[in-house]
């Protein structure tokens, strides 16, 4: 293993803030249910859909740290699985913030995806 710990931390951090980006996007999307115009405005101060804006900002920030992390000498076989840890954080936040049911099918599907991402990373070195 020649992937520096600093690169692993960068990618872990990227996956963590990316999962919060998804949470903000979801809560911003709830407002859009009332109509397209709520993509940009909101009924309460500050009168723009700041949750969506936050979600997009966190995604951008996350991709910045991600790119820093996967630079050489970072190895994709080590780093890709860490990216997909973001899916686990998101599952957790979905349960906590949106009270979504966690079914066996969701765990099984996510498990297959995590193992799949691991192998794609392994083959990409």
């Amino acid at each position: 293993m020649k992937t520096p710990v600093s690169h692993m931390l960068l990618v872990l951090f990227a996956s963590f803030i990316g999962s919060f980006g998804a949470v903000f996007l979801k809560s911003g999307a709830e407002q859009v249910k009332k109509g397209w115009i709520y993509l940009f405005i909101s009924e309460k101060a500050p009168f723009f859909n700041w949750r969506l804006a936050c979600g997009v900002a966190l995604f951008l920030l996350s991709s910045y740290f991600f790119v820093l992390g996967i630079r050489p000498p970072g190895e994709l076989s080590v780093l890709y699985p860490m990216v997909s840890l973001g899916y686990i954080w998101t599952l957790l936040w979905s349960r906590i913030f949106f009270k979504e049911p966690l079914t066996r099918m969701k765990f099984f599907g996510l498990f297959l995806i995590l193992v799949g991402v691991f192998f794609v990373g392994l083959g990409s070195n």
Binding site: S19, A22, V23, L25, K26, G28, A29, E30, V32, K33, L39, L52, V56, F59, Y80, S84, Y87, T90, L91, W93, S94, R95, F98, E100, L102, T103, M105, K106, F108, G109, L110, F111, L112, I113, L114, V115, G116, V117, F118, F119, V120, G121, L122, G123, S124
Partner: protein, 130 residues
């Protein structure tokens, strides 16, 4: 009787549509990554000006914007815990596109990974309908 059938069909359609939207999202996201890679390979000037005048790079950012919009529309009706892992399909398209366009190698590990990801997404799609 027939009312119940239409109702259940409507519900299953409502559950399936967000997954379809995220599916489109992943195709756009993969195309965006390929454009950005092309742009990065042909950087004329370094720095912000070089980025702003780099058409493939900017095209990539635009596609990411559209893909985020689709994700928001999907999240409007769908569950986050179900839809977010589906984004992993991007790995599948990126692997295929980088094989076709950049002639990156494909090996058994990547193929196995792709098969597992696709199966996982299929399981999530089924789970969404319940």
């Amino acid at each position: 009787m027939s009312g119940a059938v239409t109702e259940s069909a409507r519900i299953s359609e409502n559950r399936r549509q967000p997954v379809g939207l995220v599916f489109c999202c992943t195709i756009l996201g993969a195309a965006a990554q390929v454009l950005m890679k092309t742009g990065a390979n042909h950087m004329a000037h370094p720095g912000l000006l070089g980025m702003a005048t780099n058409l493939p790079l900017m095209g990539g950012y635009c596609l990411y914007g559209i893909s985020t919009l689709l994700l928001v529309l999907a999240l409007k009706d769908g569950e986050l815990s179900l839809l977010y892992p589906v984004i992993a399909l991007t790995y599948v398209w990126v692997t295929a596109l980088s094989f076709l366009i950049f002639h990156d190698s494909i090996n058994p590990w990547k193929l196995l990974g792709i098969v597992l990801i696709v199966t996982g997404v299929a399981v999530l799609g089924k789970g969404g309908k319940r």
